[in-house]
């Protein structure tokens, strides 16, 4: 198990405590290290997802995608990043400056805060809260405040309509996402992610209770997909109607913030789904098959985690490039008349399942 990251983290911690006597200084240094590591991970994941999406999108359209800059075009995304960093931020005249610049920051902060609650590998997580699932859901929906601020302070009718649509959509779909999470919490008996991970050591939740968990997973995936304003649910950014929606007035890195947050939200949603349905960093185990389980354990836990995330992200992109955009009334009909009753029924089903089995 030398491949696991927890050994490295423990070594760093012991080295620091050995070198520095003051406990508060050790803690401070460790906080800074964890923060810097998470920030680096945040940026890297956004970069990776941009190139991943461009490639997958191209393959769905029978194209090759970016293939000029570097092998298979992997450096294209770095070139794009540099370009967007050097671009001018165009100031507007008649708008609320403070809110205008606070918008993208809040969006990024909202999605970055969730990184603190995620579990990336065995023993690799920022904070192990006893209400971890609740924290993740609560913090990831802060972003919508930034979106609304951006749309309002841009002083632009398209931005305002886009922000309002985005607000209606995210708040509606948040309900289904939370209710499907509640089904998981009932099955796992805890909101603490570490406890949930322990419970999934032998069998992932999706295999422990296949029927209700499958329903919960499908509902969660649809709701999470809608929350990222992508795919068939991208009407807040509908180009043909609203030019670009809430971020139409942003340029340069202020737009870059929205862009990065959008891709990181994609990862966060996939990560939450992987953690609660597919066992997070737990390897695929079949109870009773010790040989098979040992083979599966050879793979480090972070690889399992990121593979599961990639699977969910791929599903998300697959849906995105398959279906046409929904109208706002169809969207709300889907949420309030179909997904909400189903997820409420699903909670009942899980409760019965837990009592019976």
């Amino acid at each position: 198990m030398s491949l696991e990251l927890s050994g490295l983290i423990n070594a760093i911690h012991e080295g620091l405590t050995g070198a520095i006597e003051a406990q508060w200084l050790v803690s401070l240094i460790e906080y800074v290290l964890v923060g810097a590591g998470l920030l680096a991970l945040y940026a890297l994941i956004a970069l990776f997802l941009i190139i991943f999406e461009r490639k997958i999108c191209a393959w769905f359209q029978c194209r090759l995608g970016p293939n000029r800059v570097g092998p298979w075009g992997i450096f294209q995304v770095f070139a794009d990043m540099l370009k967007i960093m050097f671009k001018e931020i165009i100031p507007l005249k008649h708008n609320d400056k403070l809110l205008f610049y606070a918008g993208p920051c809040i969006v990024v902060i909202g999605s970055f805060l969730t990184f603190g609650g995620l579990q990336f590998a065995e023993g690799v997580h920022g904070v192990d809260l006893n209400i971890g699932v609740f924290y993740l859901l609560a913090v990831s929906s802060i972003s919508i405040v930034g979106v609304m601020l951006a749309g309002w302070s841009s002083n632009n009718k398209y931005a305002l309509i886009g922000a309002m649509r985005s607000g209606a959509q995210v708040i509606s779909f948040e309900l289904s996402a939370c209710l499907s999470m509640m089904a998981v919490v009932i099955l796992g008996g805890s909101m603490n992610l570490s406890t949930l991970m322990e419970k999934q050591e032998d069998l992932w939740f999706i295999f422990q209770a296949p029927v209700p968990m499958l329903i919960a997973m499908v509902i969660y995936l649809i709701a999470a997909h809608a929350e990222t304003n992508r795919g068939p649910f991208d009407l807040p950014e509908a180009e043909s109607e609203l030019t670009a929606g809430y971020h139409v007035e942003y340029s340069g890195m202020t737009f870059g913030y929205f862009y990065v947050a959008e891709y990181c939200n994609l990862f966060i949603n996939a990560a939450i789904g992987a953690l609660v349905f597919l066992g997070g960093w737990q390897a695929f185990h079949i109870p009773g098959c010790d040989g098979f389980n040992a083979v599966m354990d050879m793979c480090p836990s972070y690889v399992w985690f990121f593979l599961k995330c990639l699977f969910f992200i791929f599903m998300s992109l697959w849906v995105r490039w398959s279906f046409p955009r929904l109208r706002i009334d169809q969207l709300l009909h889907l949420e309030w008349k179909i997904m909400l009753p189903f997820s409420l029924f699903n909670i009942l089903l899980v409760a019965v399942w837990v009592i019976i089995f």
Binding site: W59, F60, R63, W318, V319, F323, I338
Partner: protein
């Protein structure tokens, strides 16, 4: 109530069908041409109009009589045909092609010139790499230096009759 569940499940099935279709597309070979890399192996479509050429045979002979119908029909005056009057050995005056100038820069690739040519003397090549640094290089002389009109084994007198008929037909077509 029953129709509600029917709609939901048929909707789910239909979504799966749609995703199956896109997955088939995902697995298909890609159509993008990685152009400069596959320069040697790529195949151009046969009917692609790249640039006008005048095919010459092994003896450096072409079929152009210098009639100028192509130049007359060209919408952009892209083609300029200059002729020479020559006296043949048996004392007859004959018109012969001197220079066939084709300006690639003003060609719109409509293809009328090849349609109206009574002798099928000009044809399209599929070459599309035309980029040059000076505009004057785009004006090309299509008949190679020292080339001649290809002599037909058929009696010479039969040719003028063909000439007169053929352009009429072709003109109708192009109009």
């Amino acid at each position: 109530m029953i129709t509600y569940f029917k709609n939901v499940f048929s909707g789910l099935v239909n979504l799966c069908k749609g995703m199956y279709i896109t997955m088939l597309q995902f697995c298909r070979p890609k159509v993008t041409e990685p152009y400069p890399e596959n320069r040697k192996t790529r195949k151009q479509f046969e009917r692609f109009r790249g640039e006008l050429t005048m095919p010459h045979n092994d003896k450096n002979e072409h079929k152009c009589t210098g009639c100028g119908i192509c130049a007359m029909n060209c919408p952009n005056q892209t083609i300029t045909v200059t002729k020479n009057k020559v006296t043949t050995e048996d004392g007859k005056a004959k018109i012969e092609l001197d220079q066939y100038l084709y300006d690639l820069g003003s060609c719109i690739f409509c293809g009328i010139c090849t349609q109206v040519c009574p002798q099928n003397a000009i044809a399209w090549s599929t070459n599309f790499e035309h980029a040059v640094f000076t505009k004057s290089k785009l004006v090309k002389q299509l008949n190679k230096p020292g080339s001649k009109k290809e002599e037909k084994p058929a009696p010479v007198k039969a040719e003028p009759a063909e000439k007169k008929e053929a352009p009429k037909e072709n003109n109708d077509k192009s109009e």
